[in-house]
Amino acid sequence: MHRLKKFGTTAAAALFWIVVWYIIALKLDSNIILVTPIEAAKRLFKLVRLGDFWRSVLFSAARVLLGFALGLVIGTLLAVASKKLRLVRALFSPLISAMKSIPVASFTILALIWIGSKNLSVLVSFLICVPIVCGNMLEGLDNLDPKLTEMSHIFRISPWKRFVGVYLSQLLPYFRSAARLGIGLCWKSGIAAEVIGIPNHSIGEKLYQSKVYLETADLFAWTAVVILLSFICEKLFILLLNILQKRVERM
């Protein structure tokens, strides 16, 4: 009942903004400045019937998600290493801070020079994800309760159970919030990188073309695709983490 109510509220809010968009588009009466949501939806339905649409979706999704996955792994490993070794923390702390504040465009242009455009979104998503995951996981590691570690020694808990029950159970909420924040930013930055690098058959290329040819309906349709993909990925990943959390909770 609570979920249904929450869904109803979200749907009502979304509907409100779509109506606002529709009214503004009608008032402006210009397909170049702003199309109506109906025109954007019509364009989207046309696009999904094209083979090239799915090719672009697969191309971009595979790369953004690969960058995200690598970011999760390397960010976590870096956090563990920073916790264990003062030297690693001292070395990487300014780098991580810098990565947080460097504009995506700067990353992208540099990465374009280094690796070309095809896998640009992998590297950019990865570079965006690493500092978020590393920062959150390091905070989690710093907040591990030493009294629980003492407890695990007193009760002679096996290393595996100690890892899952004592450490992982404390770290999962930090990992979850990092992943939630990271996945949305990976999509945003990955697609932005593609718009700059214009790799063939990518969503970024389609967005770039809609800008060049002033196809505002295409721009809105592709933007809706990115929002939808980001939303689905986030929900699926959180669902997986919820299953893992339940398994850990009832280990």
Binding site: D145, K147, L148, E150, M151, S152, I154, F155, R156, I157, S158, K161, G165, V166, S169, Q170, L172, P173, Q245, V248, E249, R250, M251
Partner: protein
């Protein structure tokens, strides 16, 4: 065997133990009494090996279990998982459910510890310690935060489960001492 030999322990200027020696009776329940700050918890920590004496030694044989002053539960694990963490596969989920019911925690096995009240957390911590494999049990105010009726029932359960075990229990409560103690050690 559980014995303190000429223990000295200070925290800065404060000297808590100055040549303390005591041998705890085997398979008996020793209650440590004393005013706040007299070193009861410090003595338990020294006996458990969580703190080191400045000089002197603690001699201890056998596996230990503990009910800590703070519950030290894994908040993101269920009640049952918190207990299984220390019992392993020795006890089935059904057996754990029976023991939980005995301390008034029926139908709580799948609840995460973070959702329990203070008294429920205390009983979970107590049960975890009692169901672990041990020869010596250290209990720091194990019935703290329990209402009178629950405390009475849990104390009976505690007494039954710790029969034939060496137990060192810290409390302020003279009723607990009268009900449980085989021996009393007064500090301070």
């Amino acid at each position: 065997m559980l014995k303190c030999n000429n223990i000295r322990k200070s925290f800065g200027e404060l000297r808590v133990f100055d040549g303390f020696t005591h041998e705890f009776a085997e398979r008996k329940l020793t209650v440590i009494l004393g005013k706040s700050g007299c070193g009861k918890t410090t003595l338990l920590n020294l006996l458990m090996g969580l703190q080191k004496p400045d000089s002197g030694e603690v001699l201890r044989n056998g596996q230990i279990s503990a009910i800590f002053q703070e519950n030290r539960l894994c908040e993101n694990l269920s009640v049952s998982a918190n207990i299984r963490l220390v019992t392993g596969k020795r006890l089935s989920k059904a057996q754990i459910a029976v023991e939980l019911a005995a301390v008034g925690l029926s139908n709580c096995e799948n609840k995460p510890a973070r959702e329990l009240s203070g008294g429920m957390k205390r009983r979970t911590a107590l049960l975890r310690a009692l169901l672990a494999e041990y020869d010596i049990l250290f209990a720091d105010e194990p019935f703290k935060g329990l209402d009178t009726d629950t405390k009475r029932d849990v104390m009976l359960y505690f007494k039954e489960k710790t029969a034939d075990k060496t137990v060192v229990l810290v409390t302020h409560d003279s009723d607990e001492c009268a009900t449980l103690a085989d021996e009393t050690l007064r500090l301070g």
